[in-house]
């Protein structure tokens, strides 16, 4: 829509226009948490109900948890770079400029990655501590 106008605007660098499309990006980490959660719960419930080998499902899910943690770590690292606080020293991102919006979304996504990471670690604990369908 208005990208053409935007280029002419002072201080509005093209670099920051990429987020025009979507607010959903900040929810990537929590979505990863949600997917991990549903898959863990669903697979365990299914294997207990249908008599599948729970032990191997459990071990597979532990590996899967590690993969999800790595994914969230990667998303978080990208968000950290987008926030760019070490460069700017700006924790607040409270100006009405495109750059602030860009960094703010990075900050929010970074914090959400931390929470999601902790969430996945917590949800993985039962896989490590408990066995079987009892």
């Amino acid at each position: 829509m208005s990208e053409d106008r935007q280029k002419t605007r002072d201080g509005e660098v093209e670099e920051f226009a990429e987020e025009q499309a979507s607010l959903w990006r900040i929810t990537l980490s929590p979505l990863a948490w949600a997917a991990h959660f549903v898959i863990c719960y669903g697979l365990v419930a299914l294997s207990c109900a249908k008599g599948l080998p729970v032990e191997s499902v459990r071990q597979g899910l532990i590996v899967f948890s590690v993969v999800v943690l790595a994914l969230i770590g990667w998303i978080g690292w990208r968000a950290w770079r987008q926030w760019d606080v070490r460069e700017t020293g700006d924790y607040l991102n409270q100006q009405g400029k495109a750059e602030d919006r860009h960094r703010f979304l990075g900050h929010a996504a970074f914090l959400l990655s931390i929470i999601s990471f902790i969430g996945v670690v917590f949800v993985s604990l039962p896989l490590l501590l408990l066995e079987g369908c009892g």
Partner: protein, 857 residues
């Protein structure tokens, strides 16, 4: 959808200058121009007088009715609580008979949740959200009004049943088989009456989300929008994913009640656990749906009393979004004692503990703000302090209950009663009352009494703790919930007596509060503008009040524009900003882009109407008559409701405007019409369909749940859906979808008659699909076993949606013939094809499950 976007839009684009320069803003508006503009604007936004007042749709009117009604329902539910407490004051009391007691606690819980907590959030948001965003109104005012009248009708119906000794009596959670087998109409009142209200709630959620995403003032990027708006967005999203599973559950439940389809009857392959899952997938997020917006009120009050911007804005956004997500992973902690495998319990224990972290973060952000600000203990802040004290307690007992082993003991005991009241009083009641004290000068332009406010605070605070603190112990001493009486000598007697006394102290506190709210305040002059010296836009509203909301829609560049943009109020008043006029005498507001709030379009918003009342009454009839198992009047009501809604849409939405674009001030020209993703209506459809798809997914989940949990699903030798007819149905639906999509393209290319041809063929094909699907299950006997029953339920779900889709296609056809829809003004068919995207997806999934499942399972 990317293919859609490639097509060249015919619409004019926004043109001119944005953002405005300081010089443009500094230029004064001549007095005469101001006067003329004000007159026209006042006329366009005038609230109807006399009996016509009730046809108003403006957010400031509807919001006040909405919140007052919700308050009334809360007081009624509170009286029920007092009766409950009276009955439990002494052992072996015979004041209230068992069945009446069961109705009371069922209705207390149901009313507090469905008739107070969620509607109150929506009511408050309807009142303040447009003001926070410097918007004139909600994007769909008649939808708000429709939602309100539906809520009123449904609420009176549901809560009124207690006066006729006909109320539901199986608990607010309505567990089958108890609730499916319950005699009388109580369960039906709960299912149908509350489904009706839930649908109104979803409508309000859709409107609030669109309002937040698309109706922000120019310049208000996501990083500077008020935190309340963030919460509204998160909570709206949660409603969208939390309520549909319950609606799907209600759908199955009512089919069992009315037609004996055994979804929850274990003797015929059903499973009561499915209801528990669906109910709590709704039920737990529900708690956060209630809690988050209330804490959002605190996020508005705290910066004001601390005289500085909120600390940790990003942290609070994280907390809202994070809580929103995590709250969907907690539901099984209501089912810890159902015998699920330990690992499964572990997942939910862990997620229930994890949700503490974002919740704690928002409290710490508040503390940090108070730490570096200079707090004044105003009355609203006193209530927030009370909220903190009470809520942290509820949160900590929540940590305990989330530990599965402890829950084995505490579950369904009075410990849980104490816990949930601590979270809901601390997380909802106290912050909302704080909000009432804070926003009352905004809503009524008067102040509430400081003295009465402190009285009611201390009465409620002390009364609350006297009532609920002992209940922790009562529960640990083994008293289960929902018992109408108890024998003496187990050690519960004096604890219950204390709780009862406390309940009446709370009631006294509420009496003071309500008196303060409604007592005549004629002697008191109107408050000064922005009495709290707050920084957000709602306090820019004029005194005395003007129905237009804001005189002109400002360009916002700060989180606290009234603090940081020195002349903003003055310039808004002068009509210096956007949309200062209503040349055509129509109500208008600005539509801006989702992330950066760049102005996109001028949206016509609807004015006073009676059609919403008719639509609400007939929709009510559609839900209420089946409660008594009378179907013909229900069908008549259904038809009339559809007719009313069609009339309303036809006459007041997406009408071709007088001109393609208009000058909105400050050298900016905006289109007056938008279709597709640029329009608010398209977003509303998208969001609604997301909720609808969630409900459908819940029914599909039901299918696979039976397969997982029951050994006899499908039973040996069971008849299956006729595969050929299923395939035909899927094909016909897909063809109907493709034709609709093609018609949209043809219409825009100007091939109007081809488009019309396609719109004639598409409904016919859809009809074939619907008939095929019903035909495929026609010979199955749904009362015999859950397998044929769920196949029937899937077929009905798809067929009903097909019916809606057909109506939409015909609506577009009629629009094309009668000049409402043209190649240029084609919002209707964009919305309809969006509906069909979702519909064809669910139809194909349903057909795949029905057709392939027997082979695969």
């Amino acid at each position: 959808m990317s293919r859609d976007r490639d097509q060249k839009p015919v619409m004019p684009r926004p043109s001119g200058t944005f953002p405005p320069s300081e010089a443009m803003l500094a230029e004064p508006v001549p007095d005469e121009v101001q006067r003329v503009q004000q007159e026209r604007l006042r006329k366009a936004w005038a609230t109807p007088k006399g009996w016509r007042y009730w046809s108003a749709v403006n957010n400031s009117e509807v919001g006040v009715w909405y919140s007052t009604t919700a308050l009334f329902f809360m007081l009624a539910a509170g009286v029920m609580a007092l009766l409950i407490r009276l009955q439990l004051a002494v052992p072996e009391n015979d004041l209230i008979p068992a069945d009446r007691f069961n109705q009371l606690f069922t209705m207390h819980g149901s009313a507090m949740m469905f008739l107070f907590a969620v509607p109150m959030f929506e009511a408050i948001s309807i009142i303040i959200l447009p003001a926070l965003l410097g918007a004139r109104d909600m994007p769909f005012p008649r939808l708000s009004a429709f939602g309100y009248w539906s809520f009123l009708i449904g609420g009176v119906f549901v809560i009124g049943s207690i006066l006729f000794d006909a109320a539901p009596n199986s608990g607010w959670f309505m567990y089958p088989p108890l609730a499916t087998k319950a005699e009388g109409v109580g369960s039906d009142i709960w299912l149908l009456g509350l489904s009706f209200i839930e649908i109104a709630s979803i409508a309000a959620a859709v409107e609030l989300i669109v309002g937040t995403l698309k109706c922000r003032p120019p310049g208000m990027r996501v990083n500077i929008m008020p935190l309340y708006a963030w919460y509204v967005m998160v909570v709206g999203g949660m409603i969208l994913f939390a309520f549909p599973p319950l609606i799907a559950g209600d759908f199955l439940f009512e089919l069992e009640r009315s037609f004996d389809w055994p979804f929850f009857d274990p003797e015929r392959g059903g499973d009561p656990m499915l209801w528990q899952h669906l109910f709590w997938i709704f039920g737990h997020p529900e708690v956060y749906i209630v809690f988050l917006p209330s804490i959002a009120i605190a996020a508005m009050i705290i910066p004001t009393v601390a005289r500085r911007p909120i600390v940790g804005y990003s942290w609070i956004v994280l907390s809202a979004v994070g809580t929103g997500f995590l709250s969907f992973g907690l539901w099984v902690h209501h089912m810890f004692t159902t015998g699920l495998p330990s690992i499964s319990l572990g997942f939910f224990s862990a997620a229930s503990e994890a949700v503490v972290i974002p919740t704690g973060i928002q409290l710490f952000a508040f503390l940090a703000t108070l730490m570096i600000g200079r707090v004044t203990m105003t009355l609203p802040m006193l209530w927030i302090a009370g909220a903190l004290a009470v809520f942290t307690m509820g949160g900590l007992t929540g940590v305990m209950l989330a530990m599965a082993p402890f829950d084995f003991q505490a579950h369904d005991s009075y410990f849980v009663v104490a816990h949930l009241h601590y979270t809901l009083f601390g997380g909802m009641i106290f912050p909302v009352i704080a909000g009432v004290y804070y926003f009352y000068p905004f809503i009524r332009k008067k102040k509430l009494s400081e003295r009465l406010g402190r009285w009611s605070f201390w009465l409620i605070f002390v009364g609350f703790n006297v009532t609920f603190l002992p209940m922790h112990l009562t529960g640990l001493k083994g008293m289960p919930r929902r018992i109408y009486t108890y024998p003496e000598g187990i050690g519960w007697d004096w604890l219950n007596m204390i709780s009862t006394i406390g309940a009446f102290v709370i009631a006294a506190g509420f009496a003071v509060f309500v008196w303060d709210l409604f007592r005549p305040k004629r002697g008191q002059g109107q408050v000064a503008r922005n009495p709290w010296q707050a920084g957000t836009l709602e306090w820019s509203h004029e005194i005395p009040e003007e129905a237009w909301g804001v005189r002109s829609i400002p360009h916002v560049t700060s989180r606290y524009p009234l603090w940081d943009q020195p002349q903003i109020v003055e310039r808004m008043d002068a009509g210096r900003y956007y949309l200062p006029d209503a040349e055509e005498g129509k109500r208008e507001t600005l539509i801006t882009s989702v992330i950066d709030a760049e102005p996109l379009q001028v949206q016509r918003v609807t004015g006073p109407a009676w059609i919403t009342h008719a639509a609400a009454i007939f929709t009510g009839g559609t839900f209420i008559f089946p409660t008594f198992h009378v179907y013909p009047p229900a069908i008549v009501c259904g038809v009339l409701a559809v007719a009313c809604i069609l009339y309303w849409l036809w006459t007041s939405t997406a009408r071709p405007p007088e001109a393609d674009s208009k000058d909105v001030g400050l050298g900016l020209r905006l289109p007056t019409y938008a279709s597709g993703p640029a329009s608010a209506g398209w977003w509303a459809m998208w969001i609604t369909m997301l909720g609808d798809a969630t409900a459908f997914a819940s029914v599909i989940f039901g299918f696979f749940f039976y397969w997982t949990a029951r050994p006899d699903f499908p039973p040996d030798g069971a008849a299956h859906a006729e595969p050929l007819l299923v395939a035909i149905a899927a094909g016909a639906m897909a063809a109907s979808w493709a034709l609709t999509l093609w018609a949209r393209g043809a219409n825009r290319r100007g091939a109007v008659s081809l488009a019309r041809g396609a719109l004639v063929a598409a409904p016919l094909l859809a009809g074939v699909g619907g008939i095929g699907l019903i035909g495929s299950v026609w010979t199955l006997e749904p009362t015999s076993h859950v397998y044929p029953a769920i196949l029937w339920a899937l077929a009905i779900w798809v067929v009903v949606h097909t019916g809606v889709g057909v109506i939409m296609q015909v609506y577009c056809l009629a629009g094309s013939i009668f000049g409402k829809m043209t190649p240029r003004y084609d919002a209707d068919i964009w919305n309809v094809s969006l509906f069909w995207h979702f519909h064809v997806l669910s139809a194909v999934v349903a057909c795949a499950v029905m057709g392939f499942a027997p082979g695969v399972l």
